[in-house]
Point group: C2
Chain length 212, copies 2
């Protein structure tokens, strides 16, 4: 019996006015918007309340501190990365990283990512959250590449992590530092060049046991 989750009947509700169910979302959205606009250092609870159209007490009734609010807001950005299986490395990797690149490309999301990267360097909890985001996609990518190796599509000596970094790296670099345009074809071009490099390094691997 770890937690008495719903010990009371569902029909029984606490007396008094129920919480505005829309407030949570409005507050979290306002938080993320403001982080993107004015940065983490410029974020104030008063501004969040004003933007969300909410009293400050309403925020503190839901989260104990500004940090807790921020953490939950960032956590809502979590998304289960796709585990693609298109049949080719190229297709799989494109599907896996498309959403991530979109996030870098989008003005608001991009700024958010940069802010969080900086904050994670100081806050262990945020660092852990960031690590989960990154690692989940990375694990999926490793699976894709290993499957490709098993299929004979790639040579067995592929530096998996390097390949993944080469595909995402350009978009990340442009988002964080160079501020060059992150166009939709950036992922494709990077991917094709890397795949060409892999093909050149281990050209025409023996594809003998092709059961398909």
């Amino acid at each position: 019996m770890p937690v008495a989750a719903t010990s009371e009947p569902i029909t029984t509700r606490r007396a008094g006015r129920p919480r505005d169910p829309g407030a949570d979302g409005a507050i979290l959205r306002a938080t993320l918007d403001l982080v993107a606009e004015v940065g983490l250092s410029g974020l104030t609870v008063d501004a969040v309340a004003a933007r969300a159209g909410v009293g400050k007490a309403t925020i503190y009734r839901r989260w104990p501190s500004k940090e807790a609010l921020l953490f939950v807001a960032v956590a809502t950005l979590s998304e289960e990365p796709p585990v693609p299986d298109t049949g080719s490395v190229r297709g799989d990797l494109m599907e896996l990283f498309a959403g991530m690149i979109d996030r870098f490309a989008d003005e608001r999301s991009g700024r958010l990512v940069v802010e969080m990267a900086a904050a994670a360097a100081q806050d262990p909890a945020l660092l852990e959250l960031q690590r989960e985001f990154v690692d989940r996609r990375r694990r999926s990518g490793r699976g894709i590449l290993r499957r490709a190796v098993a299929r004979g599509e790639l040579g067995p000596d592929v530096d998996v992590d390097l390949v993944l970094d080469l595909i995402v790296g350009p978009a990340a670099y442009r988002c964080f530092l160079s501020h060059q345009p992150i166009t939709p074809d950036l992922l494709v071009r990077a991917l094709d060049l890397v795949l060409a490099g892999l093909a050149g390094t281990a050209p025409e691997v023996d594809r003998s046991p092709g059961p398909g």
Copy 2:
């Protein structure tokens, strides 16, 4: 006559105790150290003064505000990127980016870069500074690749910016997000894979008019 730089004889010095010539460096160093340690949001002038072994008034005698101090401190990180000419793209690019990768790899410098990237999103002056850093190296890289094309070492349809991003991207991505180790060979491996990809894309370009 743009500026009356040294209108007075060098022998003439203002009366009174001269400024401690070592203080400037100590203050700027303390500033950068603290940014790397506690982040920009955690940076306080009092802490800088304490770390530099200096009174707060000494800081404000030199710079009018915390922001001005920070800007100058960051500007000291500027370094003229090398303009290598080793004879091969591979050698040139390695020489060009070695220092940059080192900066990502170093704990202190890496944190500093992340902090500045976030700050640049809010402060136009810092953004301009960052842009200078990046663009200078980028221009040098573009020259290297164009020379390689002229030599016939690379095909004429190389996406110059993409190639540069592919080389730096992995280290940047690891520094900002994935926090995987940035080993000294990361640059070489990325570079070789990209060059292999370029060779595969436009293999054995026609080298007919070789005058050398």
